[in-house]
């Protein structure tokens, strides 16, 4: 038991001998929760997750003896928790529309009973190790929750309960380790959020994450187990891109961490996801989704914790052998929370007021992504996607530039594209993906052997058109040769027919890899056909007048994922039109001679 010495915003200094760094404490009469972030002699510096108003020096402080830990077990999915994993729905029941302080609420509901089935072949007498599957709980109709032996625990199984309904606190199994000590295993376990959960081996990521967004999947792919970032100034559509990923990714579990962002955005997800169908399982999207919410008006310190809570939950599902995607919106707010605490502690600021450890903390966070062989020998992955909100849209600021150094896929959003309502406003010049080579193997095997070549050609066309557009802006289109004008048209087809994608249009919102490829091939085909006609003397004006150019741009929303045969049939028509033109002109040329 100790006492408060000083209150300075969210930073409280307490006299609490013997407390450890990282330990949870409760301070004041209201018993606000906080975490020790430093020691100075007998005194400890505590960052408090709740507003510290009305706290006064002299009030008591109490150490809780454990670090900030996540409760991991059945009941996580479909819910919304705050930055320190307190379920917001239960806070709502207890304290009404506004979040009260000092609440004591467990992360997982203790009352719900879950149908637990022991894993086949798990019998008393057997030796179990950390990470082994003890049994399963069908948490939602589409999701089987695997109850694991916690990492670090091993021994001989003394007993295990029969199949039946149990609460999370029920002891379902007992193990005796080599020293004879008995460990009681429950349906849930705790894990300190700042420590990565262990795995057997790190594997290379090999399979692309399919998000159904053409510019992401086809042009700048991300792998399952990879690290990606979405930087963009406000109004560039960051949130929309993140939400689309959360909606359509082919992952087993999606974690959406709203870190210092708008409350209404989370409400949007909470209200819309239950209505949406997961394209892979046909079930409600909410059944595989979990939200961690620390909105911008919630206390800043919990914001710092929220992404660690999120990634720990992600790792827990990975350890069960699942593919998990975690979207963090936005890592800039997390960095700002670091900065605020550092500032209050009087630490020396380096760039733009950020502490010197910003880069290493960012890198360490992203390092928790990966595809691994789990302790039980299965395969699981955590894919991390962080939004970055650079001040003034300046990508050279510290958070964006440090993030750029650690991620492999960088989806840079552009204000100029967003202003012209070109969505998603992913800029093809500034974005990159270090995974294109690996992704190509998958695409070429599963979808189309021409993927790599088509992608490169399209990107080259866009770059070329960018240069030509500069000339047009200076001297007008008249200065260009017919071939160059056709390049501009080809790039236009790719931009409008492939890259632009409407999240609000039910047909266009999600594209299967097959449709993505079909659209890209179609646009390139039109470009090639036209280029060939130009060579045989057809004037470029004649080509630009073709109504099929307008129709091609609408194909993305005219043909659904199931209508690829119709789309291909239309492609045949296009070919026939070009053949016809070629015929006409060769006749004319013949007649002229």
């Amino acid at each position: 038991m100790g006492s408060i010495v000083e209150i300075n915003g969210p930073i409280v200094e307490v006299e609490l001998p013997g407390v450890r760094t990282g330990e949870q404490v409760r301070v004041g009469e209201m018993a606000l929760i906080g975490e020790v972030i430093g020691r100075r002699g007998e005194r400890a510096i505590v960052q408090v997750y709740e507003a510290t108003d009305s706290l006064r020096p002299g009030e008591e402080a109490r150490a809780l003896g454990h670090p900030l830990a996540a409760e991991l077990g059945p009941g996580l999915l479909g819910g919304i928790v705050d930055g320190v994993q307190r379920p917001l729905n239960r806070i709502l029941e207890e304290s009404g529309d506004y979040i009260a302080r000092g609440l004591e609420i467990t992360s997982l509901d203790r009352k719900t009973r879950w149908p637990f089935v022991p894993a086949q072949g798990v019998v008393p007498g057997q030796t179990l190790n950390g990470g082994d599957v003890l049994g399963t709980v069908q948490e939602t109709p589409s999701f089987e929750h695997r109850v694991l032996v916690p990492p670090g625990v091993c021994g001989e199984l003394l007993e295990i309960v029969p199949a039946g309904e149990y609460g999370v606190e029920t002891v379902v199994a007992r193990l005796r380790d080599l020293t004879g000590e008995v460990a009681e295993l429950k349906l849930y376990q705790r894990w300190p959020v700042r420590t990565p959960r262990p795995y057997r081996r790190r594997d290379d990521a090999v399979v692309p994450l399919i998000t159904g967004q053409r510019i992401l999947d086809t042009f700048f792919p991300l792998l399952k187990g990879g690290k990606g970032a979405v930087p963009g100034p406000f109004g560039a559509g960051k949130t929309m891109v993140q939400q689309q990923i959360a909606r359509w990714s082919n992952a087993d579990i999606v974690l959406y961490v709203g870190c210092g962002e708008r409350g209404n955005e989370l409400v949007d997800i909470l209200e819309s996801f239950p209505q949406l169908t997961d394209p892979y399982t046909g079930r409600s999207l909410m059944e595989r989704t979990l939200l961690v919410a620390n909105t911008s008006n919630m206390p800043v310190v919990a914001r710092e914790a929220s992404i660690y809570v999120g990634v720990t939950i992600a790792e827990y599902f990975r350890d069960q052998g699942y593919d998990v995607v975690m979207v963090a919106d936005s890592t800039s707010r997390w960095a700002e929370a670091l900065r605020e605490v550092a500032g209050r502690l009087g630490q020396m600021p380096v760039e733009e007021g950020y502490p010197a450890y910003l880069a290493s903390r960012l890198a360490a966070f992203y390092e928790r992504a990966g595809r691994v062989e789990t302790l039980a020998g299965g395969t699981g992955s955590v894919t991390l996607i962080g939004a970055v909100s650079p001040p003034g849209g300046d990508f050279s600021e510290p958070v964006t530039s440090h993030t750029k150094d650690v991620v492999q896929t960088f989806w840079a959003l552009s204000k100029a594209l967003a202003d012209a309502r070109h969505y998603p406003s992913v800029d093809w010049n500034d974005s990159f993906s270090g995974y294109a080579g690996i992704a190509a193997r998958w695409w070429e095997e599963e979808v189309d052997s021409g993927w790599g070549a088509a992608r490169e050609e399209a990107l080259a066309l866009l770059t070329q058109a960018g240069e030509l557009a500069r000339i047009v802006n200076l001297v007008g289109p008249e200065a260009l040769s017919p071939e160059q004008r056709w390049v501009l048209e080809g790039a236009g087809l790719i931009k409008e027919g492939v890259l632009q994608q409407s999240a609000l249009d039910p047909v266009d919102s999600f594209s299967t890899p097959q449709k993505q490829m079909a659209l890209l091939n179609l646009m390139l085909e039109i470009y090639h056909q036209g280029a060939r006609l130009l060579q045989s003397g057809v004037p470029v004006q004649e080509l630009l007048r073709l109504p099929l150019l307008g129709r091609a741009r609408r194909c993305k929303s005219s043909y659904s994922n199931d209508q690829l045969d119709e789309l291909k049939a239309w492609g045949e028509e296009v070919r026939a039109t070009f053949e016809g033109l070629r015929g006409e002109y060769s006749q004319m040329a013949g007649a002229g001679q």
């Binding site: 006064r56 909470l270 911008s296 009087g346 001040p391 047009v472």
Partner: protein, 479 residues
């Protein structure tokens, strides 16, 4: 302790009063400071330690004689008394009457800092508000519970626009109780009077609560003013079930006051000297807008943010844009051409528009028309750029049409009278007049059915004067 007065000030500087040797003062509590002339000032504890208590004095620390300054700790946070009597009144930032009428007496009072709304309790805003202003209704629709700032510059008519929104804002097919909370921070006397007269002449004054801090009033009071105002707004909304429109002007003055105090406290500065917590601090204010499930009222917020040197990347508009649900941006260029309201379309945005418009709310073609106007205007601006280099005569037939579209768009769609209250149907009809200047083929964002129904020319009559090469892509060129 409440009865005791302390005279232990050791330093007074930049609005901060340092006190020593006072035990157990609660963080955030309200303080009363009596100066040597007996004048009372208000303050708040912003740091509390056994050795040192730091008090922020809202009226400033000028002319404080430490030997004769007496401080009383009131043992409660800053609270605002709340009653229906508030309507029609004028207050200072700390809730004291400014209209020579008696103070509000009520048994109900609330902490002005409020607490965070549980995201799980929020309801998603989706009811279209018709402001009668085409650039807002047509392209950046406002919905109930949204926070939509006006980004402006010095000398631009943001006040007139804000006043027009207050006068004209209404929900289609509904009449229900509404109120306006007007929070002015560091505004000139003339501006304050302009708003007052405006409310008076439009007959809404009885539904308005005004909080005024003039340019020559103490700047630190600006830090508490929006919080007091929003506490009142929350009371009107959630206790009296009113729909409340909150106008905050000017948030830049607020942020500057914050910087002033942060500097005096010695906080680590981040960009342009603003403290690192500017984002969180602004969010505490802006996020108090919204709707709550199972409650009737709503708080819609229109903050006015002036962009220093018209720079939208300045920390104040920049951080605001990250928190609010869109922005209406005013442009000096349009203003100089005599266009009112000078809303510049490309950077303006309403994030909540998508759920408030369309078939059941406005008209089925509205979302596509908005997208088409944005895209066509973006292209038209490019053409205009080009015309300024190679001359308008050199443009292709289609480009000339785009040029005409841009002209018409600015003069007829953007431009409107200060008293002109356009219905959404009128706005959409002007939009189609303008889109009809362009041929079918370039209108790829509207559907075939829209074209058939609203485009003025029939498909067959589409002119084939696409005679010369077009740089068809409407997307921006990447320079």
């Amino acid at each position: 302790m409440k009865e005791k007065e302390y005279r232990m000030g050791v330093r007074a500087q930049g609005g901060l009063l340092y006190m020593q040797g006072i035990p157990g003062v609660a963080f955030g509590d309200r303080v009363q400071v009596r100066d040597h002339r007996g004048g009372l000032r208000n303050g708040r504890v912003i740091r509390s330690a056994k050795e040192l208590v730091l008090v922020q004095v809202f009226e400033g620390t000028d002319d404080l004689d430490l030997e004769n300054t007496w401080v009383r700790f009131l043992e409660e946070p800053f609270r605002m008394p709340l009653s229906p009597e508030l309507l029609g009144r004028v207050f200072s930032g700390i809730g004291q009457p400014r209209d020579e009428r008696p103070p509000i007496v009520s048994s109900l009072s609330r902490d002005v800092n409020g607490s965070a709304v549980n995201p799980a309790a929020r309801a998603y805003p989706k009811e279209f508000i018709q402001t009668g202003i085409s650039t807002i209704d047509g392209l950046n629709s406002l919905v109930r519970g949204q926070k939509l700032p006006i980004f402006t510059g010095s000398g631009l008519p943001h006040n007139r626009l804000a006043a027009q929104i207050v006068r004209q804002a209404r929900l289609l097919n509904e009449t229900s109780g509404f109120a306006v909370v007007f929070a002015a921070m560091g505004v000139s006397y003339d501006d304050a009077r302009f708003f007052r007269e405006n409310f008076e002449s439009s007959g809404v004054l009885g539904n308005v609560v005004m909080f005024i801090n003039l340019a020559d009033d103490p700047p630190i009071e600006r830090l508490v003013l929006p919080r007091t105002a929003l506490t009142v707004a929350e009371y009107l909304t959630f206790d009296l079930d009113l729909h409340v429109l909150v106008v905050l002007t000017d948030m830049t003055n607020y942020a500057e006051a914050l910087r002033e105090v942060a500097t005096a406290k010695g906080d680590v500065p981040s960009r342009k000297g603003y403290p690192g917590y500017l984002y969180s601090d602004l969010a505490e204010i802006y996020e108090r807008a919204g709707r709550i499930k199972n409650r009737h009222g709503s708080i819609t917020m229109v903050p006015v943010v002036s962009m220093p040197s018209d720079d939208i990347t300045h920390p104040i508009p920049d951080l605001t844009g990250y928190i609010t649900e869109g922005q209406i941006v005013l442009s000096r260029e349009l203003n100089n051409q005599g266009i009112y309201p000078p809303v510049t379309i490309p950077p303006s945005l309403s994030r909540l528009m998508k759920d408030g418009i369309g078939k059941d709310d406005t008209r089925e073609d509205h979302p596509r028309v908005a997208s088409q106007l944005y895209a066509s205007y973006a292209r038209a601006l490019e053409v205009r750029n080009l015309a300024s280099i190679i001359g308008a005569e050199e443009l292709s037939g289609l480009d000339k049409k785009f040029l005409a579209f841009a002209e018409g768009f600015e003069k007829q769609f953007v431009n409107q009278g200060e008293d002109e209250d356009r219905s959404i149907i009128e706005t959409l009809s002007i939009a189609w007049d303008l889109l009809s200047l362009l041929p079918y083929d370039v209108l790829t964002r509207v559907s075939e059915a829209d074209l058939a129904k609203y485009h003025h020319r029939e498909r067959g009559a589409v002119e084939h004067d696409l005679d010369d090469a077009e740089t068809r892509p409407e997307t921006v060129t990447h320079a």
